[in-house]
Each structure stands twice: as structure tokens, then as C-alpha cells.
Symmetry: C2
Subunit: 189 residues, 2 copies
Amino acid sequence: MTLSTQISSELSLEDFLKLPETKPANEYIEGRIYQKPIPQGKHSRVQTKLSTNINQVAEPQQKALALTELRCTFGGRSLVPDIAVFEWSRIPTDEDGEIANRFESYPDWIIEILSPDQPPNRVINKIIFCINQGTKLGWFIDTDDKSVMVFQPNKLPEVKYDADILPVLDVLSDWQIKAADIFSWLKVK
Amino acid sequence: MTLSTQISSELSLEDFLKLPETKPANEYIEGRIYQKPIPQGKHSRVQTKLSTNINQVAEPQQKALALTELRCTFGGRSLVPDIAVFEWSRIPTDEDGEIANRFESYPDWIIEILSPDQPPNRVINKIIFCINQGTKLGWFIDTDDKSVMVFQPNKLPEVKYDADILPVLDVLSDWQIKAADIFSWLKVK
């Protein structure tokens, strides 16, 4: 039994995008709709804390921006990464210079946090799709195994544990974060 | 909670190999021992049927051999793949020309089947380790998602579904198998 249930089939991307947004968000992949799982404690904690940490180093100097639950439509799919990070120059804007509502390109960095009962291959496939579309970096976080699988173009992924330094975007290379740092956030007492 | 529990720590590989075998098998990874999960129905069905199918095409012409739950010790780790496939010329033998008991090299093809509650990153890390040691092909089978993630050297993995043809060892290239073929075996009634 999976939480990312397939709800319907054989719908065009155009028609999918006309549907009202749901919570949790739906994703459109090759003619099918999949609903993201309902976030639970560990997932939510890592998503919130990690996006905050990224923005603390990325935002002040306008290097990049981390956005949670942002719909990104590109390459015939409409995906909602747990965290999508865009380099500053690639953030789409409207005529007023404000951040656009519609994101129609791949994030530079995609971060997915595995939810209980979520099929890992489906989530990893989403990361691989992004990398093949232009994304430079993918993280797949498993709070159970306390590990981060790192995806980069044209190479095998690497699984990072404990004191392993996690690769970040080049524009954030001043910043260092270890796998253990992420899982330390789970400890709240 | 994971089934592949870490039982002890800080043991040499040499000392680990002197310990009695257990069921399910223990694996030795970077000074630590992890016990494989107890196989369940779907896992066992795919493991048995897939190894049988591989041997049906691989054994008659002495192309390759699929072996289940075989201990392979190499690169400082001692691993027990769900299915290890060795090309015929690489099967170790004793003085009598019989198959050896100790396998001290990487399999040419490693197949892992995800068990419920098993941390995917840990299993995938095992596949990536093998590929980095010389293994040409890795399959990571998720019976829940009905998909196979395929690993090959120096490239991003690919996730195969439904009618997608699964890459096999070059020596078995006469043979074609689809992702759906594997999951059709789960249906027994």
C-alpha cells in the first residue's frame, strides 16, 4: 500500500493544470496523477529546518532561494518537490519584479524527504527526471536510515552518513553541512 | 525502526568471518554488522523465480550463474546479495573443479529486492558499493511500486516500469525481460 496513490489516468498536462490545487499536492507524471503523502512529523521538521538553513546562507547575498511545496512544471511533468532550490538568476519574476506564481523550469537543486510507506523508487525517479532535465543536484533524505543519497548528473549516486559532508550548490560552497546535522534536528528533547 | 538492525560495532572483517553464519545472514560494512531482514512472501517469490529464470538462460551454455544468499567478501565488506550473478569464467572453483565455498570477489550483477521496513538507502548503498568495485549491473526491485531501479557504472540509475525492457548482462543479451514480467510472478491466483 502506498500513500502516493494514483488517482486517475490519461489526462493531458494542460487539463491537469486547470484542476484545483489539493493538499497534499498532486503531481502529474506521464499522463497520471499521483498525490503526495500527508507530511508527518519527521518529514515536516526536516523540510522546514533545512529550507530555513539554506535560505540563511543563500538569501542575504541573493545566491539562491529554497521554496517548499512549489509546483514546478517542465519536461511534460508537473512536480512538487519537498524543497526546490533555485539560483537567484533563475527565479522567475513578473512585470513588477516580484517572484512569479508559475514556475516552468527545473529547480537547480531538488530535495526529497522519504515519507513512511512512500515507494522510494517513485521518489528517486522524480529526482532522476529532474537531473536529466537540467537540475544540478538532488538529495534524497531517509530519516529512518539517517542518510542522504546524493544525485549529480552523469554519475552514480552516493549515500552519505554521519560526518560525511553533503555536496551543495556551487553558489553556496562557503557553506558546509554534514549528514548528521540534518538528523540532529529530529532530536527535540 | 528497521529490520536490518545493527548488532555490534568495531569488529575486524577477519573476526567477523570467523563468526557462525546466521539466518537471516549478517553483513559486514565498515566495521559494523547488519542483519538482513527475514524474507517475506513477495521477496521470496521474486528471489526464487528470478534466479530460476536467469539460470534457465544462463546455465545451459555456461554463460553465467545466479546464486541466492551467497556471501561475497571483497573491498573490505562482506555482503550477501539477494541474488548474485557471476559470469561463468568468474565462478571460483576448488582443486576438484567444483564451485568454491568462498567467494572473494564482486558479483557481475547484483539484485536486491526491497523488504518492507528495510531502509532503501542502505540497500541501494550496497548496490552502489558493488558497482564501484567492479559489478557491471545492479537491480533494485520494489515490489510495492512495481519498479526496478537499474544501476550501471558511471551513470545515473534508471527506474523501469511496466513494459520497459530491463538491461541484463551482455552475455545474456539474447534474453529479454520486462519490468512487468517480474511483478506478474506475484499474482498466484
